[in-house]
């Protein structure tokens, strides 16, 4: 990996170079697969660190294994590959040229912490500013200068420029022995020349507070599936202990609301393809963590494709997980207990059921994260429309199609080949 030097270094490699936009698991995969063939790759990420959404996940389904294991391998591959140049806090501003000869303007946001940072942690101890920790989806706080997480790569501290007092305070700079902090940085634009470009800009969670009936943001004990992942993670807000946000107590009756906004013309008309498996996974680890937990999952269809069927069987064999066909249309509060009542209806049969919960998990779908560039066309749901992209420009992963990690990575690997064909 070539880093520290922010101007494109021309290392040895085949062809004309490939730009990969997005440092989540799809972008990392595209970049590595192309670089390990022998091509030069510039990998850019808008945040100061790589890993995207999978770095936030506690476990992958159906193996219930930690995503960090694969990230560790991938970060090692990046570290040792001289053909990959990593640029963090970078976004694409403008693209000109055509297949084989693209000129790309990148905007580099100041990070204020340079690569001399050793992640020793002295700065964090003196930082007076607290902020909502976005990595933990606001479930806890961090300082304005912080190590995003234990696996953060590049492994260095990050400053939240929206809250940092910078020169007004300067305490972290004073205590840093390595000259790693500099508030004098300003944004820069750099130009790079590449043969092809892959957008792997990923997804964001659908803002489920748009659905008034589901009361997200109204009742504190209604959370999203991604919040559940952070809570369950060993480096999450409670070191992996799952609690009710309202009072810190362990929940006992948990209801999962599938298709919370998905397969619904008013919100997301598509199926995100992962939320069923995610909820089953979460139901499993919840019942494993606490022998008193009972889980009910309201679903429309259980979509666990291929070999994932075993995983469904495993969940069905768990006496404390109840799978019920029905779409939750409304959640209300049970006044006396403060519990929530989820009201579900099966659309085809019209049958109504309701269930009481002390924690509700909304299985919320994916919304594509798409770079606002003229070269990128989208379909009616906002996903990148791969067929409409001009030659030499490609999309990989969840900005193109809502899908699970392994499907995204097959796509990312194949897209690396497409990028090579254009850059050769």
């Amino acid at each position: 990996m070539n880093r520290g030097n922010r101007v494109t270094a021309q290392s040895e490699g085949f062809g004309r170079g490939i730009l990969v936009v997005g440092g989540g698991i799809s972008g990392i995969t595209t970049a590595l697969e192309a670089a390990e063939v022998g091509y030069r790759v510039v990998l850019i990420e808008q945040l100061p660190y790589l890993g995207g959404k999978v770095a936030m996940m506690n476990q992958y389904f159906p193996k219930l294994c930690p995503p960090w294991c694969g990230l560790e391998i991938n970060f090692r591959r990046i570290r040792q590959n001289p053909r990959i140049q990593l640029l963090t806090s970078a976004t694409v501003k403008k693209i000109s040229g055509s297949e084989g000869n693209f000129y790309v303007f990148l905007e580099m946001k100041p990070e204020y912490v340079n690569h001399q940072c050793t992640a020793c942690g002295d700065c964090e101890k003196v930082c007076p500013v607290e902020r909502e920790n976005d990595f933990n989806l606001g479930l806890d706080k961090s300082r304005a200068i912080f190590l995003p997480h234990e696996m953060a790569f590049p492994h260095k501290y990050v400053i939240d420029e929206n809250v940092c007092l910078k020169d007004e305070c300067g305490k972290c700079r004073e205590v840093c022995k390595y000259d790693a902090i500099n508030f004098g940085q300003s944004p820069e634009i750099i130009e790079i020349k590449v043969g092809s470009i892959v957008f792997a800009t990923g997804w964001e969670l659908f803002d489920v507070s748009q659905i008034p009936e589901l009361k997200f943001g109204v009742f504190p004990d209604i959370i999203t599936n991604l919040m559940m992942e952070r809570m369950a993670s060993p480096n999450g807000p409670n070191k992996g202990k799952i609690v009710k946000p309202s009072n810190g107590e362990a929940p006992k009756n948990i209801v999962f609301v599938q298709c919370a906004g998905s397969r619904d013309e008013s919100y997301l008309s598509y199926c995100s393809g992962v939320c069923c498996s995610v909820s089953l996974k979460q139901a499993l680890y919840l019942t494993e963590q606490d022998p008193e937990v009972n889980v009910k999952i309201f679903y429309v269809d259980l979509r666990l494709m291929g070999r994932h069927e075993d995983f469904l069987n495993r969940v069905q064999a768990n006496p404390r997980i109840d799978l019920v066909k029905g779409k939750v249309g409304r959640i209300r509060e049970e006044k006396e207990t403060g519990n929530m009542i989820c009201e579900a209806e099966d659309i085809l049969s019209g049958i109504k059921i309701s269930s009481v919960a002390d924690l509700v998990v909304l299985a919320t779908g994916m919304v594509p994260n798409v770079s606002p560039l003229e070269q990128i066309s989208t379909d009616e749901s906002g996903f990148v429309s791969a067929e409409k992209l001009e030659p030499g420009i490609y999309a990989a992963g969840c900005n193109k199609n809502p899908q699970e990690v392994s499907a995204s990575l097959k796509d990312a690997t194949g897209t690396a080949l497409k990028a090579i064909q254009s850059a050769k």
């Binding site: 050793t118 269809d301 979509r303 899908q403 097959k410 690997t413 194949g414 050769k424």
Partner: protein
């Protein structure tokens, strides 16, 4: 072997609190215990510009060939501590695994740091920088087995990247199953209407590539060799021709589940019960009629998951049948405006944008979707009566129809069609249900036969779109393997590693352990059982090194001697000091980072443990265990990643091997008259750093209970 004399530079960093927590002068003096150390220095910020310059200057002026850096974890500051690739660089982790997990300025913390430096120096004295294995007979061609949608896609995509392809199809025409379709389920925006099968375009496109050779009515008789230099013998036109290829894509597709097994759905009993494959044939011929009498179909019923998601038949979901039935329902509705079509399903599985197609189908008021299970099919008045139970309204219903379509699933083709001459078998090892799929979510193209990548429906059941995507990815991996092989580099997961096992054959006893235990089938063997290594099949995990009782398998930078020297470098206090010593072999990819993260979180655990990272827990050789016990270590931990069905070992069976080899090790303990508890195996996931203190301290308690190792005094 003419070994260059070692000239070692030792650099101790006192930054990040190391200097405040340890007696640095005492640490530095460890370096003077050894005569091969040319220079040792302490610097306060070794990773910064000045520190790096000092090391660079020493390398030149003192002609160093090995560097020992005692600073932070080898997982960080890698770029800063990268030097000329011909140098051996050994990182000693004084930060994450010493000062961050132990109290400062205590005797035990100091002893730990000094031992780690001794171990680092010992390793640097033995390690050599590997040089890549380069064969002179490498080629760059790709063999694609199977000329269906996946194989054709792989061939075209490889050819577009400039590679020559040999495409072998057993039938007289290319195209496979997808060329028999009337229409394809929507695969591009707006995903609303049926599309023409994409295969026909692809077959045409295939003919445009001069660098693709298509052999039809052809059969693979034998494949031998290794990536970069496979020899494939192919039977075609009544003769067998040998082709040299560098990598292989296995895309031999699928077969429909045998409907003859589905007597419960009346197949072969009632003439008007057909499979989805048969319905497609009818549709393609332009005539969908009742097979019993050739008359029009006035009503039809699709049974989803016919023999799928069913322990008696196929336990898995084939992932294409829902969409196919909706498509075929549309065929029927297009032919007959009055016909009612029922679809009885468990779940309608139309993920992603296929949902749009599902919505289109739902607009047709003559298509009825019902959740339920078909319990019986009978015939009455020249019609089929389908009994459906477990419906949402909990009633048993009888539906009378003219035609029943069974949505049957896919079974994988046989990967043994490759006819590999490998010692471990002719095909790719199958995962569950015999699909040679990847076990890993993060690495969908991980393969157990290096240079051979499965693609499409043989690997996992799915739609044509999924096969196309998969086949493109497999082509990239086949190309990547060719290029990595040319550089002498290993492919995933140790991609870029140029080291490979070297065997001192004079001492080989033909015990076959290496040829049996290699997870990637890298070793063939002679009739006598003598191993025949294939370095390009090797993934450098070191499991063969761990397996060899004669200790004849070594890598330049990972050897029996290197680890034994590290073990012997540790100072073992005598039993009266009451400072037990525990040696921990830890998996480099999961447990080692977990120890680092325990340090990052400043979790404290005993300073009596000495960690040696290994490529895989399966690479631990028994001799290291007896070395450690004779040396006086009181206990040994082997910490690997999770074994079992959901194993996390990227070398497949590394953790599993600790079980089978365990008995062998217990025998060693018995011969040494030692307690079985002196060795313990633990499995740690990378994110389980919170578990580490308890795990270490708990083992220490066990060791304290059984008392010191009696070999200490010897």
């Amino acid at each position: 072997m003419n070994k260059e004399a070692k000239k070692i530079g030792v650099y101790v960093c006192s930054g990040c609190g190391i200097g405040q927590s340890l007696d640095i002068d005492a640490i530095q003096s460890v370096a003077s215990e050894n005569n091969d150390i040319s220079i040792s220095r302490v610097h306060s910020f070794l990773c910064q510009k000045e520190g790096k310059e000092i090391i660079h200057n020493d390398i030149i002026n003192k002609e160093l060939n090995s560097i020992v850096i005692a600073a932070c974890s080898p997982r960080v500051k890698t770029a800063e501590f990268s030097f000329d690739p011909s140098l051996v660089v050994e990182r000693v982790n004084l930060r994450e695994q010493v000062i961050w997990c132990n109290p400062p300025n205590e005797e035990d913390t100091q002893m730990l740091a000094e031992d780690y430096l001794r171990m680092g120096i010992a390793r640097a004295l033995v390690d050599e920088q590997p040089e890549p294995f380069i064969s002179s007979t490498l080629n760059s061609d790709i063999l694609v087995a199977g000329g269906g949608i996946s194989g054709i896609t792989s061939a075209i995509e490889s050819a577009k990247a400039g590679y020559r392809v040999l495409l072998v199809e057993k039938e007289a025409q290319p195209g496979g199953w997808s060329s028999r379709l009337l229409k394809q389920v929507p695969y591009s925006d707006p995903f609303g209407t049926l599309q023409d099968p994409i295969i026909h375009e692809k077959i045409k496109e295939l003919q445009n590539f001069k660098n693709i050779t298509l052999l039809t009515s052809a059969e693979i008789k034998e494949i031998s060799g290794q990536p970069g230099e496979f020899t494939a013998s192919i039977f075609n036109n009544n003769s067998i021709i040998e082709y040299k290829v560098a990598s292989i894509i296995l895309a031999t597709g699928w077969e429909p589940y045998n409907a003859a097994n589905l007597i419960e759905f009346g197949y072969n009993i009632h003439a008007d019960v057909v499979t989805n494959v048969e319905l497609e044939e009818m549709a393609k011929s332009g005539k969908i009629v009742r097979p019993s009498n050739g008359q029009a179909v006035k009503s039809a019923l699709f049974i989803q998951c016919a023999g799928s998601r069913d322990e008696k038949h196929l336990p898995y979901c084939s992932a294409f049948c829902c969409a196919t039935s909706l498509k075929q329902a549309k065929y029927i509705r297009n032919l007959y405006t009055e016909t009612r079509v029922f679809i009885v399903y468990k779940d309608i599985r139309m993920p992603g944008k296929l949902e749009y197609f599902y919505k289109e189908i739902q607009k047709d008021e003559q298509i009825f979707l019902t959740k339920g299970t078909v319990s019986e099919i009978s015939e009455k008045n020249n019609q089929l009566v389908v009994t459906v139970k477990d419906t949402l309204i909990d009633e048993k219903i009888n539906i009378k129809v003219d035609l029943v379509v069974l949505a049957t699933g896919m079974t994988p083709g046989n990967s043994e069609d490759l006819n590999l001459t490998y010692r471990q078998g002719k095909g790719l090892p199958g995962l569950k249900y015999n699909f040679p799929d990847s076990h890993f979510i993060c690495f969908p193209y991980e393969t157990r036969r290096t240079g051979i990548y499965a693609a499409g429906a043989i690997r996992a059941p799915g739609t044509i779109s999924a096969c196309i995507e998969d086949a493109t990815g497999a082509a990239l991996k086949a190309i990547q393997c060719i290029e990595s092989t040319k550089r002498g580099e290993s492919v995933h997961p140790r991609s870029g590693d140029i080291s490979y096992p070297e065997l001192y054959m004079q001492r080989c006893t033909d015990c076959k352990r290496c040829t049996e235990e290699c997870p990637f089938g890298a070793y063939d063997e002679t009739e006598k059982g003598t191993p025949l290594p294939n370095p390009y099949r090797c993934r450098s995990c070191g499991i063969c090194l761990g397996s060899c009782p004669e200790r004849i398998i070594n890598f330049k930078d990972f050897s029996i001697n290197a680890v034994s020297s590290m073990i012997k470098a540790v100072h073992i206090p005598d039993e009266f000091e009451e400072k037990p010593r525990i040696l921990a072999f830890v998996c480099e990819n999961d447990a080692y980072p977990a120890f680092d993260m325990a340090g990052i979180n400043r979790l404290q655990y005993s300073a009596y443990v000495r960690i040696i990272p290994v490529r895989c827990i399966g690479s631990v050789n028994k001799v290291w265990i007896s070395d450690a016990l004779s040396q006086g270590f009181d206990g040994i931990l082997q910490i690997g990643c999770k074994p079992g069905d959901d194993y996390q070992c990227h070398f497949i069976n590394g953790s599993e091997l600790t079980k089978t080899r365990g008995e062998n090790i217990q025998e060693t303990l018995q011969t040494m008259m030692l307690e079985p508890e002196r060795i313990r195996t633990e499995f740690v996931e990378i994110n389980e750093f919170n578990r580490i203190p308890e795990m270490i301290n708990d083992y220490l308690e066990t060791i304290k209970e059984i008392g010191p190792n009696p070999f200490k005094e010897l």
